[in-house]
Protein backbone atom coordinates (compact mmCIF):
# COMPACT_ATOMS: atom_id res chain seq x y z
CA UNK A 1 0.00 0.00 0.00
CA UNK A 2 1.51 3.30 -1.12
CA UNK A 3 0.39 6.60 0.43
CA UNK A 4 1.07 10.08 -0.92
CA UNK A 5 0.67 12.66 1.85
CA UNK A 6 0.64 16.46 2.16
CA UNK A 7 1.05 18.93 4.98
CA UNK A 8 0.37 22.65 4.42
CA UNK A 9 -1.38 23.77 7.61
CA UNK A 10 0.89 26.69 8.51
CA UNK A 11 4.48 27.49 7.55
CA UNK A 12 5.53 24.36 5.78
CA UNK A 13 4.68 22.79 2.47
CA UNK A 14 5.63 19.16 2.55
CA UNK A 15 4.95 15.96 0.59
CA UNK A 16 5.80 12.39 1.54
CA UNK A 17 5.51 8.91 0.08
CA UNK A 18 5.01 5.89 2.33
CA UNK A 19 4.97 2.16 1.81
CA UNK A 20 2.58 0.97 4.51
CA UNK A 21 3.85 2.66 7.70
CA UNK A 22 7.37 3.21 6.38
CA UNK A 23 8.27 6.66 5.08
CA UNK A 24 10.13 6.40 1.75
CA UNK A 25 10.52 10.14 1.22
CA UNK A 26 9.64 13.27 3.17
CA UNK A 27 10.30 16.54 1.31
CA UNK A 28 9.88 19.80 3.23
CA UNK A 29 9.87 23.04 1.25
CA UNK A 30 11.86 25.24 3.64
CA UNK A 31 14.63 22.66 3.92
CA UNK A 32 14.55 22.04 0.20
CA UNK A 33 14.74 25.79 -0.46
CA UNK A 34 17.52 26.02 2.04
CA UNK A 35 19.69 23.49 0.28
CA UNK A 36 18.72 24.30 -3.31
CA UNK A 37 18.63 28.07 -3.15
CA UNK A 38 21.20 28.85 -0.46
CA UNK A 39 19.24 29.98 2.54
CA UNK A 40 16.18 31.61 1.02
CA UNK A 41 13.41 30.95 3.50
CA UNK A 42 10.01 31.34 1.88
CA UNK A 43 7.43 33.57 3.48
CA UNK A 44 4.58 32.08 5.47
CA UNK A 45 1.86 30.33 3.48
CA UNK A 46 2.89 32.30 0.46
CA UNK A 47 2.23 31.87 -3.20
CA UNK A 48 5.60 30.16 -3.33
CA UNK A 49 4.02 27.24 -1.50
CA UNK A 50 1.24 27.03 -4.04
CA UNK A 51 3.73 27.16 -6.89
CA UNK A 52 6.05 24.63 -5.30
CA UNK A 53 3.58 21.94 -4.33
CA UNK A 54 3.86 20.27 -7.75
CA UNK A 55 7.63 20.39 -7.62
CA UNK A 56 7.69 19.05 -4.04
CA UNK A 57 5.35 16.22 -5.02
CA UNK A 58 7.51 15.24 -7.97
CA UNK A 59 10.59 15.29 -5.76
CA UNK A 60 8.91 13.11 -3.12
CA UNK A 61 7.85 10.55 -5.74
CA UNK A 62 11.28 10.54 -7.34
CA UNK A 63 13.10 10.09 -4.02
CA UNK A 64 10.77 7.20 -3.17
CA UNK A 65 11.25 5.77 -6.66
CA UNK A 66 7.48 5.47 -7.06
CA UNK A 67 5.24 6.52 -9.94
CA UNK A 68 2.07 8.48 -9.38
CA UNK A 69 0.05 5.59 -10.84
CA UNK A 70 1.33 3.30 -8.03
CA UNK A 71 -0.24 5.45 -5.30
CA UNK A 72 -3.09 3.70 -3.44
CA UNK A 73 -4.30 6.47 -1.11
CA UNK A 74 -3.80 10.23 -0.84
CA UNK A 75 -3.78 11.95 2.58
CA UNK A 76 -3.61 15.61 3.55
CA UNK A 77 -3.97 17.78 6.63
CA UNK A 78 -7.53 19.11 6.76
CA UNK A 79 -7.49 20.69 10.24
CA UNK A 80 -6.53 22.76 12.16
CA UNK A 81 -4.50 25.51 10.49
CA UNK A 82 -4.58 28.68 8.46
CA UNK A 83 -7.49 28.46 6.08
CA UNK A 84 -5.54 29.74 3.06
CA UNK A 85 -2.61 27.43 3.76
CA UNK A 86 -4.76 24.36 4.45
CA UNK A 87 -6.65 24.83 1.21
CA UNK A 88 -3.48 24.71 -0.89
CA UNK A 89 -2.64 21.17 0.23
CA UNK A 90 -6.18 19.95 0.69
CA UNK A 91 -7.46 20.98 -2.74
CA UNK A 92 -4.35 19.75 -4.47
CA UNK A 93 -4.56 16.39 -2.67
CA UNK A 94 -8.29 15.97 -3.26
CA UNK A 95 -7.96 16.72 -6.97
CA UNK A 96 -5.08 14.29 -7.22
CA UNK A 97 -7.06 11.54 -5.44
CA UNK A 98 -10.00 12.15 -7.74
CA UNK A 99 -7.90 12.00 -10.89
CA UNK A 100 -6.11 8.85 -9.70
CA UNK A 101 -9.47 7.36 -8.60
CA UNK A 102 -8.05 6.47 -5.18
CA UNK A 103 -9.42 7.15 -1.67
CA UNK A 104 -8.68 10.47 0.00
CA UNK A 105 -7.98 10.51 3.76
CA UNK A 106 -8.27 13.84 5.62
CA UNK A 107 -5.87 14.04 8.59
CA UNK A 108 -5.96 16.06 11.78
CA UNK A 109 -2.60 17.80 12.21
CA UNK A 110 -2.47 17.16 15.97
CA UNK A 111 -3.09 13.45 15.41
CA UNK A 112 -0.22 13.60 12.93
CA UNK A 113 2.06 14.72 15.76
CA UNK A 114 0.79 11.88 17.98
CA UNK A 115 1.74 9.19 15.44
CA UNK A 116 4.96 10.93 14.28
CA UNK A 117 6.79 9.18 17.15
CA UNK A 118 6.38 5.83 15.40
CA UNK A 119 7.87 6.65 12.00
CA UNK A 120 10.78 4.29 11.18
CA UNK A 121 10.63 2.83 14.71
CA UNK A 122 10.06 -0.53 16.28
CA UNK A 123 6.49 -1.56 17.05
CA UNK A 124 4.51 0.41 19.60
CA UNK A 125 1.70 -0.55 21.92
CA UNK A 126 -1.40 1.10 23.31
CA UNK A 127 -2.19 2.73 25.63
CA UNK A 128 0.32 5.55 25.92
CA UNK A 129 0.47 9.15 27.09
CA UNK A 130 1.20 11.59 24.28
CA UNK A 131 2.83 14.92 25.07
CA UNK A 132 2.87 17.26 22.06
CA UNK A 133 5.16 20.25 22.49
CA UNK A 134 5.77 22.73 19.71
CA UNK A 135 5.72 26.43 19.01
CA UNK A 136 1.98 26.32 18.53
CA UNK A 137 0.80 23.50 20.76
CA UNK A 138 1.25 22.03 24.22
CA UNK A 139 -1.11 19.10 24.65
CA UNK A 140 -1.29 16.10 26.96
CA UNK A 141 -3.35 13.25 25.55
CA UNK A 142 -4.23 9.75 26.69
CA UNK A 143 -4.10 7.51 23.62
CA UNK A 144 -6.14 4.38 24.35
CA UNK A 145 -6.09 2.83 20.89
CA UNK A 146 -5.94 3.91 17.26
CA UNK A 147 -7.90 7.17 17.11
CA UNK A 148 -9.24 6.80 20.62
CA UNK A 149 -7.76 9.90 22.16
CA UNK A 150 -8.67 11.54 25.41
CA UNK A 151 -7.43 15.10 25.86
CA UNK A 152 -6.07 15.53 29.39
CA UNK A 153 -4.69 19.04 29.28
CA UNK A 154 -3.42 21.92 27.20
CA UNK A 155 -1.70 25.25 27.70
CA UNK A 156 -3.93 28.00 29.04
CA UNK A 157 -1.73 30.70 27.48
CA UNK A 158 1.57 30.29 25.60
CA UNK A 159 2.84 27.07 24.06
CA UNK A 160 6.12 25.69 25.45
CA UNK A 161 8.03 26.31 22.21
CA UNK A 162 6.72 29.86 22.11
CA UNK A 163 8.06 30.49 25.63
CA UNK A 164 11.49 29.28 24.46
CA UNK A 165 11.45 31.64 21.49
CA UNK A 166 10.21 34.62 23.44
CA UNK A 167 12.78 34.20 26.21
CA UNK A 168 15.50 33.75 23.56
CA UNK A 169 14.40 37.07 22.10
CA UNK A 170 14.61 38.79 25.49
CA UNK A 171 18.15 37.44 25.85
CA UNK A 172 19.06 38.72 22.40
CA UNK A 173 19.62 35.22 21.00
CA UNK A 174 18.85 34.17 17.42
CA UNK A 175 15.64 32.76 15.96
CA UNK A 176 14.43 30.08 16.34
CA UNK A 177 15.36 30.45 19.98
CA UNK A 178 14.62 26.93 21.22
CA UNK A 179 17.76 25.22 19.88
CA UNK A 180 19.88 28.21 20.96
CA UNK A 181 18.63 28.08 24.57
CA UNK A 182 19.15 24.31 24.54
CA UNK A 183 22.75 24.75 23.37
CA UNK A 184 23.58 27.43 25.97
CA UNK A 185 21.73 25.63 28.78
CA UNK A 186 24.30 22.82 28.60
CA UNK A 187 26.97 25.27 29.79
CA UNK A 188 24.88 26.85 32.54
CA UNK A 189 23.73 26.11 36.07
CA UNK A 190 20.06 25.07 36.17
CA UNK A 191 19.84 26.04 39.83
CA UNK A 192 21.16 29.58 39.26
CA UNK A 193 17.69 31.09 39.60
CA UNK A 194 14.32 29.57 40.33
CA UNK A 195 11.74 30.76 37.82
CA UNK A 196 8.27 30.08 39.17
CA UNK A 197 5.73 28.00 37.31
CA UNK A 198 2.04 28.61 37.66
CA UNK A 199 -0.18 25.83 38.90
CA UNK A 200 -3.71 25.85 37.61
CA UNK A 201 -6.26 25.13 40.25
CA UNK A 202 -8.14 21.83 39.82
CA UNK A 203 -6.52 21.25 36.43
CA UNK A 204 -3.47 19.11 37.13
CA UNK A 205 -2.71 18.49 33.45
CA UNK A 206 -2.99 22.05 32.11
CA UNK A 207 0.14 24.09 31.42
CA UNK A 208 0.92 27.78 31.74
CA UNK A 209 4.06 29.39 30.32
CA UNK A 210 3.02 33.02 30.20
CA UNK A 211 3.96 33.65 33.84
CA UNK A 212 7.49 32.31 33.47
CA UNK A 213 8.00 34.52 30.42
CA UNK A 214 6.99 37.61 32.45
CA UNK A 215 9.09 36.41 35.36
CA UNK A 216 12.18 36.17 33.11
CA UNK A 217 11.41 39.64 31.77
CA UNK A 218 11.32 41.17 35.25
CA UNK A 219 14.39 39.23 36.36
CA UNK A 220 16.36 40.62 33.40
CA UNK A 221 15.24 44.13 34.29
CA UNK A 222 16.17 43.64 37.91
CA UNK A 223 19.72 42.55 37.11
CA UNK A 224 19.95 45.14 34.30
CA UNK A 225 20.76 42.39 31.83
CA UNK A 226 20.78 44.59 28.72
CA UNK A 227 23.64 46.75 30.07
CA UNK A 228 25.49 44.16 32.03
CA UNK A 229 25.62 40.59 30.79
CA UNK A 230 28.16 37.93 29.93
CA UNK A 231 28.18 34.44 28.42
CA UNK A 232 28.18 32.72 31.79
CA UNK A 233 25.14 34.69 32.99
CA UNK A 234 23.24 34.02 29.75
CA UNK A 235 24.03 30.29 30.01
CA UNK A 236 22.84 30.24 33.62
CA UNK A 237 19.56 31.95 32.75
CA UNK A 238 19.03 29.57 29.82
CA UNK A 239 19.71 26.55 32.02
CA UNK A 240 17.40 27.77 34.80
CA UNK A 241 14.62 28.68 32.41
CA UNK A 242 14.90 25.40 30.51
CA UNK A 243 14.85 23.41 33.74
CA UNK A 244 11.62 25.14 34.82
CA UNK A 245 9.83 24.45 31.51
CA UNK A 246 11.15 20.89 31.19
CA UNK A 247 10.19 20.08 34.79
CA UNK A 248 6.66 21.32 34.22
CA UNK A 249 6.21 19.25 31.06
CA UNK A 250 7.84 16.19 32.59
CA UNK A 251 6.05 16.23 35.93
CA UNK A 252 2.60 16.59 34.39
CA UNK A 253 3.17 13.86 31.82
CA UNK A 254 4.58 11.57 34.53
CA UNK A 255 1.67 12.32 36.85
CA UNK A 256 -0.79 11.45 34.06
CA UNK A 257 1.03 8.19 33.40
CA UNK A 258 1.02 7.27 37.10
CA UNK A 259 -2.61 8.21 37.68
CA UNK A 260 -3.81 6.33 34.61
CA UNK A 261 -1.43 3.44 35.23
CA UNK A 262 0.15 3.75 31.78
CA UNK A 263 3.78 2.78 31.28
CA UNK A 264 4.48 4.37 27.89
CA UNK A 265 4.98 8.04 27.07
CA UNK A 266 5.42 9.61 23.64
CA UNK A 267 6.93 13.10 23.34
CA UNK A 268 6.60 14.76 19.93
CA UNK A 269 6.50 18.19 18.25
CA UNK A 270 9.45 20.52 17.66
CA UNK A 271 10.36 20.88 21.35
CA UNK A 272 10.79 17.09 21.64
CA UNK A 273 14.26 17.67 20.12
CA UNK A 274 15.26 19.59 23.28
CA UNK A 275 18.17 17.82 25.00
CA UNK A 276 16.98 18.59 28.53
CA UNK A 277 13.51 17.26 27.80
CA UNK A 278 14.84 14.11 26.14
CA UNK A 279 17.19 13.39 29.06
CA UNK A 280 14.44 13.89 31.60
CA UNK A 281 12.04 11.49 29.90
CA UNK A 282 14.79 8.99 29.11
CA UNK A 283 15.49 8.74 32.86
CA UNK A 284 12.14 6.95 33.15
CA UNK A 285 13.35 4.04 31.01
CA UNK A 286 15.20 2.61 34.04
CA UNK A 287 11.92 2.69 35.93
CA UNK A 288 10.19 0.41 33.46
CA UNK A 289 8.71 3.01 31.13
CA UNK A 290 8.77 2.98 27.34
CA UNK A 291 9.59 6.39 25.90
CA UNK A 292 8.71 7.14 22.27
CA UNK A 293 10.44 10.09 20.60
CA UNK A 294 10.25 10.94 16.88
CA UNK A 295 13.34 11.27 14.72
CA UNK A 296 14.20 15.02 14.60
CA UNK A 297 13.08 15.26 10.94
CA UNK A 298 9.58 14.13 11.95
CA UNK A 299 9.31 16.33 15.05
CA UNK A 300 8.46 19.58 13.26
CA UNK A 301 5.62 19.88 10.73
CA UNK A 302 6.08 17.34 7.92
CA UNK A 303 4.04 15.25 5.52
CA UNK A 304 5.54 11.97 6.77
CA UNK A 305 3.49 12.20 9.96
CA UNK A 306 0.38 13.02 7.94
CA UNK A 307 1.09 9.95 5.79
CA UNK A 308 1.49 7.50 8.67
CA UNK A 309 -1.63 8.89 10.37
CA UNK A 310 -3.61 8.74 7.11
CA UNK A 311 -2.44 5.17 6.55
CA UNK A 312 -3.44 4.10 10.09
CA UNK A 313 -6.77 5.89 9.74
CA UNK A 314 -7.51 4.13 6.47
CA UNK A 315 -6.49 0.70 7.78
CA UNK A 316 -8.48 1.06 11.00
CA UNK A 317 -11.69 2.35 9.44
CA UNK A 318 -14.15 -0.44 8.65
CA UNK A 319 -16.25 1.46 6.13
CA UNK A 320 -13.55 2.46 3.65
CA UNK A 321 -16.16 3.77 1.22
CA UNK A 322 -16.30 7.01 3.21
CA UNK A 323 -12.87 7.88 1.87
CA UNK A 324 -14.23 7.83 -1.65
CA UNK A 325 -17.13 10.11 -0.71
CA UNK A 326 -15.08 12.63 1.21
CA UNK A 327 -13.22 13.81 -1.85
CA UNK A 328 -15.71 16.58 -2.44
CA UNK A 329 -17.17 16.82 1.05
CA UNK A 330 -13.99 17.15 3.03
CA UNK A 331 -13.52 20.78 4.01
CA UNK A 332 -10.71 22.68 5.63
CA UNK A 333 -11.40 23.33 9.30
CA UNK A 334 -9.24 26.13 10.64
CA UNK A 335 -10.37 25.76 14.26
CA UNK A 336 -8.72 23.33 16.65
CA UNK A 337 -11.50 21.12 17.96
CA UNK A 338 -10.13 19.60 21.13
CA UNK A 339 -12.86 16.98 21.15
CA UNK A 340 -11.60 15.77 17.76
CA UNK A 341 -8.03 15.44 18.98
Amino acid sequence: MYTLAFETSCDETSAAVLKNDTVLSNVILSQYFHSEFGGVVPEIASREHLKSIVEITEKALKEANIHLKDINIVAATSEPGLIGALLIGLNFAKSLALSLKVPFVPVNHIQGHIYSSFIQKEKFEFPFISLIVSGGHTLLIEVQDFFRHNLLGTTVDDAAGEAFDKVAKMLGLGYPGGPEIDRLAKKGNPDFHKFPLAHIKNKPYDFSFSGIKTSVLYFLREINYIEDNNDKLTANICASFQKAVVDSLFLKAKKAAENLNIKSISVSGGVSANTGLKEKFSSLINKGYRIYLPEPSYSTDNAGMVGITGYFKYMHTNDKAIFNDVTFNSRAMPRIKYEAV
Partner: protein, 151 residues
Protein backbone atom coordinates in the same frame (compact mmCIF):
# COMPACT_ATOMS: atom_id res chain seq x y z
CA UNK B 1 -13.66 50.67 35.83
CA UNK B 2 -15.19 52.15 32.70
CA UNK B 3 -14.01 51.21 29.22
CA UNK B 4 -15.58 53.84 27.01
CA UNK B 5 -13.47 55.26 24.16
CA UNK B 6 -10.39 57.29 25.15
CA UNK B 7 -10.41 55.74 28.56
CA UNK B 8 -7.34 54.53 30.35
CA UNK B 9 -7.59 51.93 33.05
CA UNK B 10 -5.01 50.48 35.36
CA UNK B 11 -5.38 46.78 35.84
CA UNK B 12 -3.84 45.39 39.00
CA UNK B 13 -3.99 41.73 38.08
CA UNK B 14 -4.63 39.24 35.28
CA UNK B 15 -8.14 38.86 36.69
CA UNK B 16 -8.80 42.59 36.24
CA UNK B 17 -7.43 42.49 32.69
CA UNK B 18 -9.83 39.63 31.89
CA UNK B 19 -12.69 41.61 33.44
CA UNK B 20 -11.74 44.66 31.35
CA UNK B 21 -11.86 42.51 28.20
CA UNK B 22 -15.27 41.18 29.11
CA UNK B 23 -16.61 44.69 29.65
CA UNK B 24 -15.01 46.00 26.44
CA UNK B 25 -16.65 43.19 24.45
CA UNK B 26 -20.04 44.84 24.94
CA UNK B 27 -18.91 47.64 22.61
CA UNK B 28 -17.78 45.32 19.80
CA UNK B 29 -20.09 44.93 16.83
CA UNK B 30 -20.21 41.74 14.74
CA UNK B 31 -17.85 42.04 11.77
CA UNK B 32 -15.58 44.45 13.60
CA UNK B 33 -11.77 44.26 13.54
CA UNK B 34 -9.85 45.46 16.58
CA UNK B 35 -6.11 46.00 16.98
CA UNK B 36 -4.33 44.95 20.17
CA UNK B 37 -0.96 46.56 20.79
CA UNK B 38 1.58 45.94 23.50
CA UNK B 39 4.81 44.13 24.31
CA UNK B 40 5.39 40.52 25.30
CA UNK B 41 3.49 39.65 28.45
CA UNK B 42 1.57 42.93 28.56
CA UNK B 43 -1.84 41.25 28.88
CA UNK B 44 -3.20 40.95 25.34
CA UNK B 45 -4.08 37.26 25.58
CA UNK B 46 -5.71 37.79 29.01
CA UNK B 47 -7.82 40.58 27.52
CA UNK B 48 -8.91 38.23 24.70
CA UNK B 49 -9.85 35.66 27.35
CA UNK B 50 -12.19 38.30 28.78
CA UNK B 51 -13.71 39.12 25.39
CA UNK B 52 -14.23 35.41 24.69
CA UNK B 53 -15.89 34.86 28.04
CA UNK B 54 -18.41 37.57 27.11
CA UNK B 55 -19.33 35.44 24.08
CA UNK B 56 -19.49 32.37 26.29
CA UNK B 57 -16.58 30.63 24.53
CA UNK B 58 -15.93 27.25 26.16
CA UNK B 59 -12.52 26.48 24.66
CA UNK B 60 -9.31 27.52 26.36
CA UNK B 61 -8.01 30.75 24.85
CA UNK B 62 -4.27 30.60 24.29
CA UNK B 63 -1.58 32.36 22.32
CA UNK B 64 -1.85 32.51 18.50
CA UNK B 65 1.78 33.62 17.99
CA UNK B 66 2.90 30.51 16.15
CA UNK B 67 -0.37 29.47 14.59
CA UNK B 68 -1.10 33.07 13.51
CA UNK B 69 -4.81 32.68 14.23
CA UNK B 70 -6.93 30.83 16.77
CA UNK B 71 -10.67 30.54 16.27
CA UNK B 72 -13.26 30.18 18.99
CA UNK B 73 -16.98 29.53 18.68
CA UNK B 74 -19.32 31.48 20.93
CA UNK B 75 -22.64 33.31 20.92
CA UNK B 76 -23.49 37.01 21.04
CA UNK B 77 -25.38 37.47 24.33
CA UNK B 78 -27.18 40.48 22.84
CA UNK B 79 -28.78 38.52 19.98
CA UNK B 80 -28.15 34.87 20.87
CA UNK B 81 -26.60 34.41 17.43
CA UNK B 82 -23.47 32.31 16.92
CA UNK B 83 -20.27 34.27 16.62
CA UNK B 84 -16.69 33.28 15.85
CA UNK B 85 -13.90 35.02 17.71
CA UNK B 86 -10.77 35.16 15.53
CA UNK B 87 -7.65 35.93 17.54
CA UNK B 88 -4.72 36.82 15.27
CA UNK B 89 -1.07 37.50 15.91
CA UNK B 90 0.62 38.82 12.78
CA UNK B 91 4.04 39.11 14.41
CA UNK B 92 5.55 36.45 12.16
CA UNK B 93 4.26 37.92 8.90
CA UNK B 94 6.51 40.22 6.91
CA UNK B 95 4.48 41.28 3.86
CA UNK B 96 0.88 42.37 3.56
CA UNK B 97 0.51 40.01 0.58
CA UNK B 98 0.84 37.12 3.02
CA UNK B 99 -2.54 38.10 4.46
CA UNK B 100 -4.13 37.31 1.15
CA UNK B 101 -2.58 33.86 1.01
CA UNK B 102 -3.54 32.94 4.59
CA UNK B 103 -7.12 33.75 3.57
CA UNK B 104 -7.38 36.79 5.88
CA UNK B 105 -10.47 38.26 4.22
CA UNK B 106 -12.38 35.02 4.77
CA UNK B 107 -12.14 35.62 8.51
CA UNK B 108 -13.85 39.02 8.36
CA UNK B 109 -17.64 38.81 8.15
CA UNK B 110 -20.83 39.59 10.06
CA UNK B 111 -20.67 36.28 11.91
CA UNK B 112 -17.31 36.95 13.50
CA UNK B 113 -15.08 39.46 15.20
CA UNK B 114 -11.33 39.76 14.65
CA UNK B 115 -8.88 40.68 17.40
CA UNK B 116 -5.44 41.33 15.94
CA UNK B 117 -2.07 41.59 17.64
CA UNK B 118 0.61 43.31 15.54
CA UNK B 119 -2.16 44.67 13.31
CA UNK B 120 -0.12 47.08 11.16
CA UNK B 121 0.03 44.76 8.13
CA UNK B 122 -3.70 44.09 8.36
CA UNK B 123 -4.40 47.84 8.35
CA UNK B 124 -2.19 48.26 5.29
CA UNK B 125 -3.82 45.28 3.61
CA UNK B 126 -7.37 46.53 4.18
CA UNK B 127 -6.46 50.22 3.79
CA UNK B 128 -8.18 51.24 7.02
CA UNK B 129 -7.44 51.97 10.65
CA UNK B 130 -8.81 49.78 13.40
CA UNK B 131 -10.13 50.68 16.80
CA UNK B 132 -7.28 49.90 19.17
CA UNK B 133 -6.49 48.71 22.64
CA UNK B 134 -2.97 49.47 23.91
CA UNK B 135 -1.26 47.55 26.69
CA UNK B 136 1.67 48.75 28.76
CA UNK B 137 3.49 47.68 31.90
CA UNK B 138 2.72 49.46 35.15
CA UNK B 139 5.05 50.09 38.05
CA UNK B 140 4.38 46.82 39.79
CA UNK B 141 4.99 43.40 38.21
CA UNK B 142 1.28 42.58 37.95
CA UNK B 143 0.14 46.09 36.97
CA UNK B 144 -0.90 46.88 33.38
CA UNK B 145 -2.01 50.15 31.78
CA UNK B 146 -4.75 49.60 29.23
CA UNK B 147 -5.63 52.40 26.82
CA UNK B 148 -8.67 52.44 24.55
CA UNK B 149 -8.62 54.53 21.41
CA UNK B 150 -11.72 55.72 19.63
CA UNK B 151 -12.11 55.16 15.93
Amino acid sequence: MKTSPENIIISKSEKETIAAGKEYAESIKPGEVIGLKGNLGSGKTQFVKGISSYYNVKDIVNSPTFLIVNQYEGADPATGKKITVNHFDLYRLKFKEELETIGFEDYINEKSICLIEWSRLAEEFLGMEFREVNFDFGEKETERIIKFTKK
